[in-house]
Structures are given as C-alpha cells and as structure tokens.
Symmetry: C2
Subunit: 201 residues, 2 copies
C-alpha cells in the first residue's frame, strides 16, 4: 500500500478546508443545484463557483449532469464515507505518518508533465506507462459514456496522440468500447492487472 493513500486523503481535506466549498457541498447534499443557484447561495461569482465545483468533481464528491445550457450538480456520498471510515480508526490515522512515497504513481506522472499541464511524451516503460494511463483515465467520469469525439477532445488536453491513448485504454482494460461508444471501467476491474502494485484510490 503506497502512501498515495495519504496524498488522496490530503486532497480531500484540502478540498473541504474552505468555507465556500463546504457550503457548496452542503447545498448539493440537499438537492441538485445549478451553478447559478450555487453561486448566489454561497455569495460568489459564477466563475468562482464553477472553479470550486470542478475541484469537488475531480474528487468525485459531486457529480454533474447537463440539461441544455444548465449544469446540475449533485452530491456523491461515497468518497466522504470512505474518508470517514479511515479517519474513524486510530490505525487509519496512523497510516498518515507514511513518508511520501518515492515512486508513487503521482511522482511518475509528474515526470512526464510539462509546465502547461500536458504530457511531454507517453512513457515506453510498462510500469510508467501504466501509471500515466491510470492517472489519465481518471479524467473520465465513471457513470457515463463518451463518444469517440469526446474522448479525443479530453485526451488532447494532455497529449496530441489521442488515438494511441485510446487504444491503450482498451488494452489495459481501463475503458471499454462498444459501437464507437466508450465507457471508463471501474478501478477494480483493471488495477493490478499488470501485476504491479495496486494503486490506492
């Protein structure tokens, strides 16, 4: 078990360590809200609300569904539940002492990221490629499907060669394709698939 776990937990605490985001979370925990509603309720501008919501969504604390121009945000309880469980036991807390893992997937990925946030290149070495791909596939949501066009668009934010990346996703069983429609598979389906250490999520 790498200390990726600790880093993940840290991300959650950082995400929750802000009044605006806490209140956003509280609001969506009551019912779905649009960005406008949320911005007004919290007392910030829409860009700011959008910014915070993106952060919460990255951590799968909230989900988003689109209806016309409007984006409806909803609460996703799972992530917080996992956090609470870990923090409930002393052993869980004690694990936080772990020194930041050298060779953690994050560290590997960082080596391939340029200043613009894009990948400089796709690693050839199996383990590193795996790390990068598993990081990348998490940019996709689990609960929806993507047209090939959408997959390409999202991938090209990180690297020009979306075709190769798409193919690799399928190969590693991180995504499945059916009649040109893509869906991200759950971590549990593919992690450890190459025999390397599982990546904590």
């Amino acid at each position: 078990m790498t200390s990726t776990q600790t880093e993940e937990l840290l991300k959650f605490f950082k995400a929750l360590a802000h009044e605006s985001r806490l209140r956003l979370l509280g609001l969506v925990a009551q019912r779905e809200h649009s960005v406008q509603e949320l911005a007004a309720a919290v007392g910030v501008t829409e860009p700011t609300a959008s910014h915070h919501l993106a952060m919460l969504r990255d951590l799968h604390l909230v989900s988003r569904r689109t209806e016309g121009n409007t984006h409806w945000y909803a609460y996703v309880p799972d992530a917080l539940a996992r956090l609470a469980k870990q923090v409930l036991s002393r052993e869980g807390v004690a694990k936080l002492a772990a020194t930041p893992a050298r060779n953690s997937p994050e560290a590997i990925v960082a080596n391939y990221l340029g200043d613009d946030g894009k990948l400089t290149h796709i690693p050839a070495q199996r383990k590193k490629r795996y790390a990068v791909l598993s990081w990348l596939v998490r940019k996709f949501e689990e609960d929806r499907t993507y047209a090939e066009r959408e997959v390409n668009e999202l991938l090209q934010r990180y690297h020009w060669d979306s075709a190769t990346l798409r193919r690799e996703f399928i190969g590693y069983r991180m995504m499945e394709r059916d009649k040109g429609i893509y869906r991200r598979l759950s971590d549990f389906d593919w992690r450890s698939a190459d025999g390397s250490e599982p990546i904590a999520y």
Copy 2:
C-alpha cells in the same frame, strides 16, 4: 443549532489540510513523540513543528504532557471520531449549507477583540459576557489544574483584569477553585446554564 457547527468543522478540515500536520497526526497516532522527534520525522524545524502542534492541540486532536524539558504529544481520537460521524451521513453534510450565523458566539467575541488579539473590554450585557467568557475559558485545558498564578498569566494575554475574569469563571461554573487550585470544567457542566442557546462545541 447555530452554524458554529459548520465553523468548527471547517477548522478541523483546515487543520488537516496540510501534509505536515497530517503526518504529525499520523505519528502521534502511533505513539507519543517529542517535538524534536516529530520535527525530524516530518522534515521541518522545531519552531514549525511546534506551531503545527499548537494548532492540533487547540482542536484537541492531540494532547501534551510535560516531562522535564521534553513535551510529549499524544493522539486524542475523540474529535476526529465526531467529525467522521457527521460527515458519514448526508444529513450531516447537508447542514454545512447553513449560512454563517450572525450572532454566533464567535461573531460576538470578534466585536471585543482588538488587532493585538486582546479584549478591548469585558462586555456588560449578560449574553455577550457569557459568549466571551466561554470562548476565553477554552484557552484552558480540561485535563489539568492551574495555579492562580498560571490562570492570571493566561488571562492577561487577553485582558489586564484577570481578577474579574477569574471570579466570573467561578460564577458561571466554567471553572472550579479548590484551595487556590483552579480547574476548567467541561462544557457540559455549564453550557446553557444561563438559559441562552447552547454553544456547539
């Protein structure tokens, strides 16, 4: 139920939203540690470690016991357990949406605090005086006794008239005195004592 609850929760998340503090907490969750040990393990200087530990101690996440020159810090699980419980239920999260309470004890206290962090004066109005006192008494630890000299020293960080404050603590049953030795009483002993709204802790 005031939104003080939300503010408390926010404090916890802020405290935990930092790698150094998370690791400090992890270390003390394993066993008692001195400041030196902790600083070395986390890779910061002693002043920095001390600073973080003070923060964790304010929130009762860790406790401190003195042995000669050495301060031993230990883990206190209760606070995190409470946090976990609230965050585990959707209702608990939904409460976070509450708009920041005007008239919260914190807001009252803020009115009497100067830029130097000291009280400009002691409120005369009963409810406000109560709010300030209950805030002030929390500067004392629950699990130890204080000599009158120590009580005065601590109080004078906030106001010159420590004698009046001491007397009020006794009157409100926030402290008890026995043969010149003072001890902070638990919140549960005195909150709501004056019939005002309970102060969430």
